[in-house]
Amino acid sequence: MNNKIFGLLFLVIISTWSQRVAAMEKYAAEQPAHELIESLKSGGYIIYMRHGITKRKDKNRAKKAIDLTRCETQRNLTEEGQLQVARIGKVIKSLKIPIGKVKSSPYCRTQDTAKAVFGAYEVDDLLAYSMAKLEKESAKLGQHLYDSILSVTDTKNNTVFVGHTANLKDGLNIWPKPEGVAVIFKVEQGNIIFKGMIKPDDWPSVK
């Protein structure tokens, strides 16, 4: 009896997951970045933004476990990165792209990015980097991201999530590359539609 119930549950999960993937592929035809930027102006889109450029060789970093309250235990934005996100922030402001709710991972590099690009933001602990987590936890975080995007109802403004590569890969099977990229989605008839990516260099220069 119990086995049957679990079996049924498993089937439901698999089928919903495959539906999700199918939905992604259906609209796989990505729109070019300039079209996306144009679309964003009318609002109603979801923007998942990877943090800006970070340090690779950081011999000063304490070789200890990461502490979210202490930025020195984390991989942080480089100077180049800070300039990069500040520039993107200026462009979005100048293009008058309407920004609604902004949620950020609790890491320093994402909070710095959110602040620099969109100004006001909320920290969502469940957007934390899922890379070094156990498989189950990673899946849980991915699911959280998916649910959060799906539950967005704001059609006037664009809703923003600032996070990491692994979460988007775990939640929607999309790898956001490079650092500072914005991945655009839209919710249509209960489905999340992947519209395309806007790389940091795709943003027009500020006049």
């Binding site: 690779r56 060789k57 070789k63 476990a65 890379m131 070094a132 498989e135 692994a166 890969k169 790898w175």
Partner: protein, 786 residues
């Protein structure tokens, strides 16, 4: 104490000790094995699996580590996303190893090696390695070089971890060695099994030896004694034994010996008895079918067959064939049911001669079942000679009996033949004496009358005696008054007493108004004989009759009568034979006093016949005393106080007969005709005479059946009274008045005459000589009935 054990217990002791020994060995060894097993299982549970676990964890870690290295080395060929997926796999792998290690380490309590908690150290070292490795993997998708650098750091931590694993493995190995040493020591631990086993085995052997020695010796002696006994040798030695069991066997053997001795004694006695029996009896045994299985020499001697011829033959070999088949079937029915058959049998010898044997056939039964018949024993005595003598006796007896019958017939016919003329003589004298006669003639005729009556009584005595002797006298059984009988009797005897000037006295005790049942006529006859004798033999003096009635039981009285006289008495020696027939004191007595000498013999026989007895005491010249006692049945009636006296002829009360009364006298004898006609004339009656039965019938026919009574003589020529009566009665049914009374007049005084007359159809019965008063009574009866 051991001697009182039963043989079973003795043989059980050794095996019991053996079983005990086995049980002890089993339980002891089981315990040791269990303790060793525990040690081994302890080793199993602790050290060995841990060593193996450590080795496996070490292996897994090295594999995982080299995978990460491979990933980083090949990272140039992949994009970020692919590296991320592979790195994620390796990271999860590390997490699994961490869980496994935590599981195997958390189960243990702390273990201190070289002043350091090794488990805690391993946990920390692994955590450090994991942190570095995680950083390396995290970085792998971002910067492979940075990641490789991080991995180098991680490998340093791994080295520390491996050193700790080595330390723990060594520790476990050392433990294992120590425990193995401990087990080895325990394995050779000292137990007392060997000592206990030795003691028990010794005890087992000893008990087996002890009992077999003692018991077998005793049993061997008993065995040889029994062998001797079985061969019939009863001279056996009786060994003394302390052993109770053997002693009991010896007691049984001694009893067996005694029983053999006893049976030999019995056998000897039986042989002697058999020898004695063989001298006297014919003995044979047969099987169930009658086949002879044993025959003694007497059998062979009498039958003429040899013993060999007899054995194996059926017993029918000596059957004479004189008995029918049914006879032998009956015999077989009796013996086959287990009963003894006995009879005298005529057998046939080999030469064909026949011999009589007194035979008993006895069934033999099986020892085990008394109801099962296995054969028969026949015991016979040769009685051929006895049988011949017996036959002679039977023949002689037949002759004697026919003589007695002839005598009885002679007496009966004599009594008839004598009575008939006597009837005439007495009747004529009676008639003559009724006429007027001169004194002298009257005296002479009266003397003749007395003599004739005396002669008649003498004849009656002889007749009575012969009747009693032949057993033909039957007693009457009527109710009567003893008092009346005795009074009348005494009165009738007074004439005789007065003639002799003897005083006759009657004394009665306890007799008044008692009616008894018996034969008054025969009692009167005894009294007549005894009182008549007393008067006869008494010249002067008195005769007394003393009578008592003694109550004997509820239904019976004893009538006791003593007649005492003062006569001549009897000599003592003659008293013994006094009641024998024809015996008077001496021959001269008969001459002097007269009489047949039968009176006392008849009295004796009559009292005996009435179940009484008679006796006498006497003294010569003083007197005699006769006494008799007779049992009489009681009656409920009470005596009517009337004294009847037989009236004399002159005194007879003659009635006035009905007019034209006619009688028919059928009588062949001329004298009797005259006598009866004379008597009837005095009664005022007339009669026609027919001289035989045929004439009587024709007279009846001619007179048109007008006779009122027929007096019928029985024995007549041509047609006797019986036939005439039968004829009259038969024809009367058609022609004559059926009710003409016929009164028989017969001289046949023998018993059965009355029945014969009545059966022929006569109405009444009178014996000759005719008593006038009796005839008158009968005539009154029959004529007035009409």
């Amino acid at each position: 104490m051991l001697g009182s054990l039963s043989i079973r217990d003795r043989f059980l002791i050794s095996p019991l000790i053996g079983v005990l020994l086995t049980l002890i060995l089993y339980f002891t060894s089981d315990q040791i094995l269990q303790s060793h097993a525990k040690l081994f299982s302890h080793i199993n549970e602790s050290n060995l699996p841990q060593i193996s676990e450590i080795s496996q964890v070490t292996l897994l870690l090295s594999e995982s580590n080299s995978e990460i290295i491979t990933l980083l080395l090949e990272s140039e060929g992949f994009d970020e996303e692919e590296i991320y997926v592979e790195g994620k796999k390796q990271l999860n792998n590390l997490y699994r190893i961490k869980e496994r290690l935590a599981k195997s380490i958390n189960e243990q309590e702390s273990l201190i090696i070289d002043d350091e908690d090794i488990f805690l150290a391993i946990k920390n070292a692994f955590r450090d390695y994991l942190t570095e490795a995680r950083l390396s993997i995290e970085m792998s998708s971002v910067d492979a070089k940075q990641a490789s650098y991080e991995l180098v750091l991680a490998n340093k931590k791994l080295k520390t971890l491996n050193q700790l694993f080595l330390k723990l493995s060594q520790h476990y190995s050392n433990n294992l060695t120590e425990q193995a040493k401990l087990v080895e020591g325990t394995l050779y631990q000292e137990t007392y099994i060997t000592e206990l086993a030795i003691v028990l085995i010794a005890l087992m052997l000893w008990s087996a030896f002890y009992f077999s020695k003692h018991t077998s010796k005793g049993l061997t002696q008993v065995y040889s004694a029994l062998i001797k006994l079985s061969k019939g040798d009863i001279a056996i030695e009786n060994y003394q034994h302390n052993d109770a069991y053997i002693k009991n066997i010896w007691t049984a053997v001694c009893q067996f010996k005694q029983s053999i001795e006893k049976s030999e004694r019995y056998q000897n006695e039986l042989l002697i008895q058999k020898f004695a029996m063989d001298q006297h009896f014919i003995i044979a045994t047969t099987d169930l079918k009658g086949v002879i299985t044993y025959a003694n020499s007497k059998f062979s001697e009498i039958s003429g067959y040899s013993i060999d011829e007899l054995i194996g033959s059926n017993h029918r070999i000596v059957n004479s064939g004189n008995q029918p088949k049914v006879y032998w079937q009956n015999m077989f029915n009796i013996v086959s049911k287990g009963n003894v058959w006995h009879d005298e049998v005529l057998n046939k010898a080999k030469d064909g001669s026949e011999y009589w044997v007194d035979t008993s056939i006895i069934p033999m039964t099986a020892v085990e079942d008394k109801n099962k018949i296995t054969g028969y024993i026949a015991i016979r005595t040769d009685i051929t000679d006895k049988k011949l003598q017996h036959q002679k006796l039977i023949d002689a007896n037949v002759i004697a009996e026919s003589a007695v019958i002839a005598k009885g017939q002679f007496l009966a016919s004599m009594s008839h033949e004598i009575r008939t003329p006597m009837n005439g003589v007495i009747g004529m004298l009676e008639l003559v004496l009724n006429n007027e006669l001169d004194t002298k003639n009257r005296q002479q005729l009266e003397l003749a009358q007395v003599s004739a009556k005396s002669l008649l009584s003498l004849i009656n005595d002889i007749l009575d005696f012969s009747k009693v002797d032949a057993g033909k006298l039957e007693l009457e059984s009527t109710e009567f008054s003893l008092q009346n009988l005795l009074s009348e009797f005494t009165e009738s005897m007074q004439i005789q007493a007065k003639q002799k000037d003897v005083l006759l006295q009657l004394t009665m005790k306890n007799l008044s108004d008692k009616v008894v049942i018996g034969d008054p006529g025969r009692i009167r006859q005894v009294l007549t004989n005894l009182v008549g004798n007393a008067i006869k033999f008494t010249k002067k003096g008195s005769v007394s009759i003393e009578v008592k009635l003694i109550e004997y039981s509820e239904s019976t009285w004893h009538f006791n009568c003593v007649i005492t006289d003062t006569g001549i008495g009897l000599p003592q020696k003659s008293l013994e034979n006094l009641f024998d027939s024809f015996n008077q004191v001496d021959a001269s007595t008969t001459r002097k006093y007269g009489g047949t000498g039968l009176g006392l013999a008849i009295s004796k026989r009559l009292t005996t016949l009435m179940a009484g007895d008679i006796s006498v005491t006497s003294e010569v010249k003083v007197g005699s005393s006769f006494q008799f006692t007779i049992p009489l049945s009681k009656s409920n009636k009470i005596v009517e106080k009337t004294i009847q006296r037989p009236p004399t002829l002159a005194e007879l009360d003659i009635p006035t007969w009905p007019e034209n009364t006619r009688l028919l006298l059928v009588e062949d004898n001329r004298v009797n005709q005259l006598v009866i006609l004379g008597i009837l004339k005095r009664f005022g009656l007339k009669a026609d005479v027919a001289i035989n039965g045929a004439k009587a019938i024709s007279a009846l026919e001619q007179s048109n059946n007008c006779y009122d009574v027929i007096l019928m003589d029985c024995q007549m020529p041509e047609m006797d009274g019986y036939d005439a009566t039968r004829h009259i009665r038969k024809n009367q049914l058609v022609n004559y008045s059926a009710s003409t009374p016929i009164i028989a007049l017969t001289a046949n005084a023998m018993n059965g005459d009355r029945e014969k007359c009545l059966k022929a159809g006569m109405n009444d019965y009178l014996t000759k000589p005719i008593e006038p008063e009796l005839l008158l009574t009968k005539l009154k009866h029959w004529l007035f009935i009409q």
